[in-house]
Every structure is written in structure tokens, then in C-alpha cells.
């Protein structure tokens, strides 16, 4: 099932000024529910812009964004005639119905941020509270939840992050870079979004830190069955954690499909200036030297398994 659909979406920065720039150019795509989708592309390819469109923070210059089949930027005027026909409004007086629709629409717009949780680039810069607990609680508090519910969500989020609960009473400014990042992501996870959007969640972290971030995201995705969209420019991370992949170049979608499909199209990736994962490059070199390896090796784990198998069979043959 498709959770999010983009239909002929374009986004232009600074229209009408000398600094005008088209960030997204007629993008149409669908994002599958209940799995992790990776968005990959060079700087300036429109990745971050696309992420901002998904939770309604900015509206596309043209085109539509659908969440569960509903246009998230639909205006009151556009919706009114349709909604007036709905059973819950049909029996009301027209003016009352109009007012009710307006409040309902405002409520929906506001809840959109909670349904589609966005973790921006370098999210550790958004931390502001005295304690980690309060900071994670900021989102749930804005949702208007009860204190008990908030507490439950904060503890749940910190469990997903893999951090020790003792950290909750510390100041977020005393943490290490990687910890801050995990707390910031927990702050969004605490809202239990149906869709979690992460813009370069692992940028600037060491390998161990990267792994911890991705583990946090994967734990959340597995436990809740939510849809995750993740921007990265590391092919290795994509291959390891994502089921589907979208490749952007110059504001256009150049490839969209499962990781296998995208990685097998080497010429397209080279054209857009992106690499295939290093381990895939290595298998290709080994293949060229006459080693009988399958062509669909994209992660180190799989490579290890395949090579071990190969080693065992060779040994058995000897």
C-alpha cells in the first residue's frame, strides 16, 4: 500500500527574484507503507526540500502531496463542496457546517506534524530544555496529552534510542554529539508518528554513532510498523537498512524501486555521479577475476555469508 504519494510536485525557491532556483521539478512518486524507504542524491538534488513537503511545513509550488490518499495541502475552498455532502455535515445548517469544517481542517493541519514526524538535518540543534526528559516531552506536550501519557511516551522513546534511562535527568547540552542526536530523534519518535522522516540522520557521526542512530530508527519501525523515509548519501547505509530507494538528481526522480532494482542499474547511478556500495564494487572486481559470486550483494553481512559458503564448498571439493 502507498502511504505517501507525490503527484507532479514542483518547488521553486525565491520565485521572481534573481536568486530563483527550481529545487524539485515535476516529481511524481509513491512511498510504500510499513517499510524504510531511502532517498539518495547529491547535495542540491532536492532531497531536503522534498522532506519539508511531506509534513506540510511548506507547500509545493505546484502539484499535490497525498497522505493516505488525502491531499495534505487542500484548501478550505477546495474541500468545502465535497465535505458538505458527507453524512456528518449534511444534516447541519450550512453556516454551522462551514464552521465545523473549518475547525476540523485546522485540527487536521495541526495534527499533520504529529502524524508525519520530521527529523531535520543536525537535529541536535533543536534541543533547548533543561533536561532530556523535558525535551523529549516537548512534542507530546504540544499534542495535548496527559502527564501520564507523556511520561509513558518519553520512556518508550528513550528505550527505542537505546540510551540509559539515567540520561533523562541530564541537561541535553552535556551530552556527546551522537547522544544528542539520538535524544533529538527520540523527541520526534515520542509523538509516535505514522510516518517518520529523517533528513541525513547520521551525517557527521563516526561509524559506531551511525550504527546506533540507524538501530534506533529500525527498532522504532519494527515495533510500530510505521513508514520511514530516510535521506542519506551513503550507499552502504541505504543498502543495509532500506527496502526501497528513490534516486534524485537535479530535482528529478531518476530511479525508484527496491534496492536490488536500483543498485543493479549501475550505468544510471554512474550517470548521476553516485556510487554503488563499496562491497558491491568489491564483488564485481572479484567476479572479474573469475570468482563465482551472485550479483546481488549489497551488504557486508551478505557478502560474508556468501563468501563463507563459497569457502566451505571449495573446501569440500578439495
Amino acid at each position: 500500500m502507498d502511504k505517501i504519494v507525490l503527484e507532479q510536485v514542483s518547488y521553486v525557491y525565491g520565485a521572481g527574484t534573481p536568486f530563483e532556483k527550481k529545487a524539485l521539478d515535476n516529481v511524481s512518486l509513491a512511498i510504500q507503507a510499513n517499510c524504510i524507504t531511502g532517498v539518495i542524491g547529491h547535495t542540491g538534488s532536492g532531497k531536503s526540500t522534498m522532506m519539508m513537503l511531506l509534513n506540510g511545513l511548506s507547500a509545493p509550488t505546484s502539484g499535490k502531496v497525498y497522505l493516505d490518499g488525502l491531499d495534505i495541502n487542500a484548501s478550505f475552498k477546495e474541500l468545502l463542496p465535497e465535505w458538505l455532502k458527507l453524512p456528518e455535515y449534511a444534516n447541519m445548517r450550512k453556516s454551522t457546517a462551514k464552521k465545523a469544517i473549518k475547525t476540523e481542517l485546522a485540527k487536521r493541519k495541526k495534527s499533520l506534524c504529529f502524524r508525519v514526524g520530521l527529523v531535520m538535518q543536525y537535529p541536535e540543534y533543536q534541543l533547548f530544555e533543561e533536561t532530556v526528559y523535558k525535551d523529549i516531552a516537548y512534542g507530546p506536550k504540544n499534542m495535548g496529552l496527559s502527564a501520564e501519557e507523556i511520561k509513558e511516551r518519553v520512556y518508550e522513546a528513550i528505550r527505542f534510542s537505546g540510551l540509559d534511562e539515567a540520561i533523562l535527568q541530564k541537561s541535553p547540552f552535556d551530552l556527546s554529539g551522537g547522544q544528542k542526536r539520538r535524544v533529538a530523534i527520540a523527541g520526534v519518535i515520542a509523538m509516535r508518528p505514522e510516518v517518520l522522516v529523517l533528513d541525513e540522520p547520521a551525517a557527521g557521526l563516526d561509524p559506531r554513532g551511525r550504527e546506533q542512530i540507524f538501530e534506533e530508527v529500525c527498532r522504532y519501525q519494527k515495533a510500530t510498523g510505521s513508514t520511514v523515509i530516510m535521506v542519506s548519501h551513503s550507499m552502504e547505509d541505504m543498502a543495509e537498512y532500506c527496502r526501497n530507494m528513490i534516486v534524485l538528481a537535479n530535482g528529478k526522480v531518476v530511479a525508484n524501486g527496491s534496492c536490488q532494482e536500483v543498485f543493479s542499474n549501475v550505468s544510471m547511478l554512474e550517470e548521476t555521479g553516485l556510487d554503488i556500495p563499496q562491497i558491491t564494487q568489491l564483488t564485481r572486481l572479484l567476479q572479474a577475476r573469475g570468482l563465482a559470486l551472485p550479483g546481488d550483494i549489497y551488504t557486508v553481512d551478505r557478502a560474508v555469508a556468501v563468501l563463507k559458503d563459497l569457502y566451505r564448498t571449495e573446501k569440500g571439493n578439495d
Binding site: 527574484t17 519539508m52 514526524g117 540543534y125
Partner: protein, 283 residues
């Protein structure tokens, strides 16, 4: 947010863009003096003409300049209303305009012809002042070139121990970081909005409180950035202005001198035009 970059430098290749920034600073001061010299219809007509000429020379679309005047509308209306109602003169236009109040009070509205002229002149003066300074400075000069020019022009003050170089460096850094901070503000606001922050509803106190989640991270990152910048400057052996050479050395050309002379002549012309007052001359 990028579209309203501070300083609004408009990249183009025009004689004004190429001018020495020092000349432009002097020109701006002279031009401001000119706007205040104007006293009658002829002089203001010449002033308006000069502003249009400046715009044509600078190759900046007039549309853009007019758009930048939009926020002035409030001030313009306010000053012109004050001028219209408060100026006393000889030609009363509204002899019998009266508004009765409770208790038999009557308010006489007195609008004099002089008031209308004053209002018109005032509007022209403010508009031309803004067009002139923005074309001569903000639209055509990069902030860096501007502070460079100011440092050079203030050099004589060094004799009385004014730290000219430090002031210029601080101004440069401050100007340089305005767009960065604005971008950062927007980013943090977006991040908090994504967590359900609401900056637009509620009373004054609630709204001020809702800005805390933006201001605290902004301050933290501004301080961090300042420390990093200081460290980076020290790593490159920056130790103040003493013995520092310039990468871009400013050269005053013949055209720059000519432009300054032209504007001085323009000022003299305005003083001359001020003598031919028909209709109305400002006091």
C-alpha cells in the same frame, strides 16, 4: 528566507556596481544632503528625475525597488496625515468643515494648501532618500566592500585612538552572519514546528513563551559559532589590524571622482532651482 537576504545585494554589471565603494559612501551622504536641500516644485522634480536616472544606471528592475518601499507605506501615511492636518498656512481649503462632538464641542478641520504641499514634498523626500541610498549602497555594494570602504574612510580617526580596524572587522562579521542566523532561525523554527510548536496563536505572554524553544538553541549555536570563528581566526594568525595587508586594494578612478563632482554640481543646481518658486516653497 533566502529571498529576503539582508542588504539585498542585487548582482548585476553596471557603472554603479563597479564604482569604488568609498566613492559610493561619499555619494550617498551628498545625495542625502541633496534631498534635504530641495524646497520647491522644480527642485523636487529634478530630484525625482535623478532617482529615476540612478535606477536606470544601476540596471536594477524598478519593480524590485518599488516592492522594497512597501513596508514604508505606514510611515508615509502617518507623516503625510500629520503634515496635512497640522500645517498652518494662509490658504485655508476647508472653511466650514466641522465635526460636532457630545456636549456641544465642535472640532474644526483645517486643511491648508501649504499642508498638502508639505505632505507631498515629505513623501517625495522620504521615497527618493530611500531609493537613492538603497541603489547607491545596499543594492549595488556587497556588505564586505562597504565595511572595507568605511574602514578606509575612518582611517583618520586612528589618530585619536579609535580602533577603526576592529570596528570594521566586527561590522563585517556581524553583517556576514545575519543571513546565516536568519537561515538558522528558520531551520530551528521549522524543527520545532515539526514537533507541534505554535508561534502564531495565543496571547502575548504565551506567544513570547512559545519563542523560547527557538531562542535558546539559536543563542547556543550563535555562541558556539562565535567561539569556532575566533579559534579559526587565531589559527590563521589573526591578531588585529597591525601590519595586516589587504587582498583587494581599493583604487579611486577618474569616474569615481567625476561622479562625486557631478553630485556636488547637482546639489548646487538644486539650490539654484530653489530660487524659482512657483506654487509653493517649503520653509
Amino acid at each position: 528566507m533566502k529571498s529576503i537576504a539582508f542588504g539585498q545585494y542585487y548582482p548585476a554589471d553596471s557603472p554603479i556596481h563597479r564604482m569604488d565603494p568609498r566613492a559610493k559612501v561619499i555619494l550617498t551622504i551628498l545625495y542625502i544632503v541633496c534631498t534635504f536641500l530641495c524646497k520647491n516644485v522644480l527642485a523636487f522634480a529634478a530630484l525625482l528625475l535623478s532617482a529615476i536616472l540612478l535606477d536606470l544606471l544601476s540596471k536594477i528592475p524598478l519593480r524590485m525597488i518599488l516592492r522594497s518601499l512597501r513596508p514604508l507605506i505606514v510611515i508615509l501615511t502617518f507623516t503625510s496625515l500629520i503634515n496635512v492636518f497640522m500645517t498652518k498656512g494662509e490658504h485655508l481649503l476647508t472653511p466650514n468643515w466641522q465635526i460636532p462632538f457630545w456636549g456641544g464641542h465642535i472640532w474644526h478641520i483645517q486643511i491648508y494648501e501649504e499642508g498638502l504641499w508639505n505632505a507631498l514634498f515629505m513623501i517625495l523626500r522620504i521615497v527618493v532618500l530611500l531609493i537613492g541610498t538603497s541603489i547607491l549602497l545596499s543594492y549595488t555594494t556587497t556588505p564586505i566592500a562597504l565595511t572595507d570602504a568605511l574602514e578606509r574612510l575612518m582611517k583618520p580617526l586612528k589618530l585619536i585612538r579609535v580602533p577603526v580596524h576592529d570596528i570594521a572587522m566586527m561590522t563585517t562579521i556581524a553583517l556576514r552572519f545575519i543571513p546565516t542566523l536568519m537561515e538558522e532561525t528558520q531551520r530551528i523554527m521549522n524543527a520545532q514546528k515539526a514537533r507541534g510548536a505554535d508561534f502564531t496563536s495565543g496571547g502575548l505572554i504565551r506567544r513570547a513563551k512559545s519563542l523560547l524553544p527557538v531562542l535558546i538553541p539559536l543563542l547556543v549555536s550563535a555562541f558556539n559559532r562565535a567561539y569556532e570563528l575566533a579559534a579559526a581566526m587565531e589559527c590563521r594568525c589573526y591578531h588585529g589590524g597591525k601590519g595586516k595587508t589587504k587582498m583587494k586594494i581599493l583604487h579611486l578612478r577618474f569616474g569615481d571622482v567625476l561622479a562625486v563632482l557631478l553630485v556636488i554640481a547637482f546639489g548646487a543646481g538644486i539650490v539654484f532651482l530653489n530660487r524659482y518658486g512657483f506654487y509653493y516653497t517649503m520653509k
